[in-house]
């Protein structure tokens, strides 16, 4: 058995924030709510959990002075299902489908992270063919996730049309998923040790076709938004976050890259087959909503590039490594993280030598990124809160787990 305090210490070490941050993220004083509009600390508004723009069931308590935001407090947990606790009562392979339900718009990435973490724990390596398939599907999923983000983000800011464009194109990704593994959203595409399914007949051709189809579509979104005056005004300079603050808060993913840090786990610690491919890490300079938008658009293009390279040269061979039917990893712990569409998705798995994990802790990118919300919207207007929630690209299934 493992000493529990050791685990707790490890977990808390990773989530400790910079000491300088603490005063800026202090909690609201919610007691004095009988004062009126005119005094400075005034109106308290509950945004959510039932609200069209909080992406599910996020509840943000806003402290407003007129339209100006004095502070926010996120209340989370409305979608809590205890995924991490469930893991302690499932075998390693039984828990695999559960991770799909966390970030349900990027289920493939979640599965990839979990499978690779357990593989590391078991000391097996997926065969190259499986790793290529994993890369292709994960990058397709990144596209789908970014498309969903773009549609909902634009909808939050008031442009209703991009939503339908992105959903039209995301549908094509989902069709490929469906053909590959039978599911569209919560795919459960990968298994520990590789993939369960061989690519279907014409998989490569269809992916190629999809690439040709989607490249002009991304230009179409950019045409609609990138130089749109209102869009630029609504996003430029909104929700600024500097590189230093990002690092201090543990913010990762496009949000970190938009503030100028060239940090992508696909390059920093290549997993799957990413070391074989040539792609760039798009970065921004200002760390505002507009830069995050541009970074994500660029990332979509880079994903297309990766898929294009991967799909031509999927190696032949087995798709799954030799993995025992009953998995009993040696006593120990492992932390493995991947670059999910929303940021660093980490799995910390502790094994006590039995068939079930002793503890699984997920480091969900949305949850950590959401911490930055309060800092980013202080002093902004109500409409900016909506824009910033959109630009953080949170999925409540992942935040609440």
């Amino acid at each position: 058995m493992i000493d529990r305090t050791m685990i707790d210490r490890t977990v808390t070490d990773r989530t400790t924030t910079d000491q300088a941050m603490t005063d800026r993220t202090s909690h609201l004083e919610l007691e004095q709510h009988d004062k009126t509009f005119l005094d400075s600390n005034e109106l308290i508004i509950n945004m959510g959990p039932q609200h069209p723009a909080t992406h599910g069931v996020l509840r943000v308590i806003l402290k407003l002075d007129g339209e100006k935001v004095l502070g926010t407090e996120c209340v989370i947990g409305y979608l809590h299902r205890g995924v991490e606790k469930i893991a302690e009562h499932r075998t390693y392979s039984m828990f695999n489908p559960y991770v799909d339900r966390m970030d349900y718009v990027a289920a493939v990435s979640n599965g990839l992270g979990y499978c690779e973490a357990v593989e590391k724990l078991l000391n097996v390596e997926a065969p190259p063919r499986a790793r290529y398939i994993r890369v292709i599907l994960t990058e397709l999923n990144r596209l789908a996730s970014h498309m969903l983000w773009l549609g909902t983000h634009a909808l939050d800011i008031g442009a209703i049309t991009p939503l339908f464009y992105t959903f039209r194109d995301r549908e094509e990704v989902l069709k490929i998923f469906e053909k590959y593994c039978g599911a569209r959203l919560t795919t459960h595409a990968f298994r520990i040790g590789g993939c369960l399914y061989e690519t279907y007949e014409g998989f490569e051709r269809e992916v190629k076709k999809f690439l040709d189809f989607v490249t002009p579509k991304i230009n179409e979104y950019e045409e609609l938004l990138t130089t749109n005056r209102i869009w630029v005004e609504r996003t430029k300079g909104v929700g600024k976050i500097s590189a230093k603050e990002c690092v201090a808060l543990g913010v990762t993913g496009p949000v970190l890259r938009a503030s100028g840090v060239k940090w992508d786990l696909r390059k920093a610690q290549p997993y799957a087959a990413y070391a074989d491919f040539d792609f760039e890490i798009p970065t921004g300079q200002n760390g505002d909503t507009y830069d995050r938008y541009l970074v994500r658009m660029q990332e979509m293009r880079q994903s297309l590039r990766i898929i294009d390279q991967a799909v031509g040269k999927i190696p032949e061979g087995p798709i799954i490594a030799k993995v025992p039917k009953v998995m009993k990893p040696a006593v120990g712990e492992i932390y493995h993280s991947i670059e999910a569409p929303k940021g660093e998705l980490g799995y910390f798995i502790v094994s006590d030598g039995s068939t079930q994990p002793y503890r699984v802790r997920v480091r969900p990118p949305s949850f950590v990124n959401l911490q930055a919300l309060d800092m980013m919207v202080r002093g902004a207007l109500v409409a900016d809160v909506i824009a910033v929630i959109g630009t953080l690209d949170i999925v409540l299934g992942e935040v609440d787990r």
Binding site: L43, I45, H51, P52, A53, E67, A154, L155, D156, I157, G158, A159, I160, T161, L163, F164, Y165, R168, L224, L225, N228, I230, W231, E233, R234, L381, V382, A383, D384, I386
Partner: protein, 416 residues
């Protein structure tokens, strides 16, 4: 009695000026009916056009191509439970939608659909329209306050600030158009809606093109301000769905909500009619001087009928493209019937006696319809402004521009 009825037909003024109450009532009834039909049609058209802009089909289930959808929606709204929040102020909560609807419909008293096709012609026509339509902000403020809830209150505050701000720019643009009615030092200007169109007729120019580009700029200011005034995208902050859930009508449901809906669309039609009257030549057909003469008159008078025939043809095309399955039989027959009605209307409009009478109304409605299409287009294209940006546009762009245009128009009017 019969004399009383027929005497008006011989006169060439509006029933209000002729003092003929009966015909005034008939006109009011006609406008009310026409407006209701227009709002229903707008509802369907907006959903269809927006849907086709967004690569989807829009309503397709109720009736052929969803033609009966607005009626189904209206029925649903009427029989829905009417919820009033417990902490609401019942009186004000009740009065708000009624006030909004009344103001939205009252402005149509002075809208000139033709030289004599208006309920009445007021000496202060434009002032009356602006004034009464500015009363609708009271209804919105009342609705927001009476709901006794935070989101509606914020929506009401936003809308009152927004509408009061844009009214100023709107007023300046209107004044510069009114200045154009007095031409060449001699004539006196007019605020009467019919008088303004007649001035355009007499000067052989639509005011958009007068003192180019002054008229165009003034029209542009008005076109922006009127979108803000009717709380439509990209200025739909008072009911910004993603921010304030539904703004001032968050707490409204059922019948009272449908009154807000009705008022919004009729207000859109109302401000569009002001724009059409002031700048786009009201009931005049396009190119009245350039393409003048008997032949062109005939050609242009055929257009209303031909438009309806074209719509009928589109409907019949839809009939042909309908799937040949027994399940779609009712829909096919319905669409064919709809096309037949449109075709019949088109044929009636081609008859010479009808043709001459209906022309003014047709051109006016066509121009208003164009403006309504622009509304839908904006909604499909633009993101929403933020509140400070909205205020900046209103006060720092439109207002100085309006004052500049006004001064330049006055100078041009004196010296040109």
């Amino acid at each position: 009695m019969l004399d009383y009825i027929t005497s008006y037909l011989k006169s060439d003024t509006t029933p209000g000026q002729a003092g003929n109450l009966l015909w005034a009532l008939i006109y009011i009834l006609l406008i009310f009916l026409g407006l209701s039909v227009a709002v229903i049609a707008m509802n369907w058209l907006e959903r269809k056009i927006l849907a086709h802009m967004q690569v989807r089909l829009g309503p397709m289930r109720v009736g052929p191509h969803g033609l009966l959808q607005p009626i189904a929606d209206a029925l649903k709204l009427l029989i829905k439970e009417d919820i009033m929040p417990a902490a609401a102020d019942p009186w004000v909560f009740w009065m708000a939608p009624i006030l909004v609807v009344i103001t939205a419909f009252t402005v149509f008293i002075v809208v000139p659909f033709g030289p004599t096709h208006a309920v009445t012609d007021m000496n202060i026509g434009v002032l009356f329209m602006l004034g009464v339509s500015s009363l609708s902000v009271l209804g919105i403020v009342m609705a927001g306050w009476a709901s006794n809830s935070h989101y509606p209150l914020m929506g009401a505050l936003r809308s009152s600030a927004q509408m009061v701000s844009y009214e100023i720019a709107m007023g300046l643009a209107v004044v510069s158009a009114v200045l154009m009615t007095s031409l060449n030092q001699t004539g006196t200007g007019t605020l009467s809606m019919i008088g303004i169109v007649q001035a355009q007729q007499a000067q052989h120019i639509w005011f958009v093109f007068k003192f180019f580009p002054l008229g165009l700029i003034a029209f542009g200011i008005f076109a922006i301000a009127m979108v803000a005034e009717t709380n439509r995208a990209p200025f739909d902050l008072p009911e910004a769905e993603s921010e304030l859930t539904a703004g001032f009508h968050t707490e409204y449901s059922g019948f009272r909500w449908s009154l807000f809906f009705l008022a919004e669309y009729s207000a859109m039609i109302a401000v569009s009619s002001i724009a059409v009257t002031l700048w786009l030549g009201g009931w005049m057909r396009p190119f009245p001087t350039w393409l003048s003469g008997e032949t062109w008159d005939l050609v242009f008078s055929l257009i209303p009928g031909l438009t309806f025939l074209l719509l009928a043809a589109i409907a019949f095309l839809g009939v042909i493209r309908m799937p040949k399955h027994p399940y779609f039989r009712v829909q096919t027959i319905g669409l064919a019937g709809f096309g037949a009605v449109l075709g019949l209307i088109g044929l009636i409009l081609l008859l010479p006696p009808v043709r001459d009478r209906i022309q003014d109304i047709f051109w006016f409605s066509a121009k208003v319809a164009l403006s309504m299409y622009m509304y839908i287009w904006y909604r499909g294209t633009f993101p929403r402004y933020r509140f400070d940006q909205l205020m900046r546009v209103g006060w720092k762009v439109l207002l100085p521009l309006g004052i500049g245009v006004l001064i330049l128009t006055a100078m041009a009017g004196v010296w040109l």
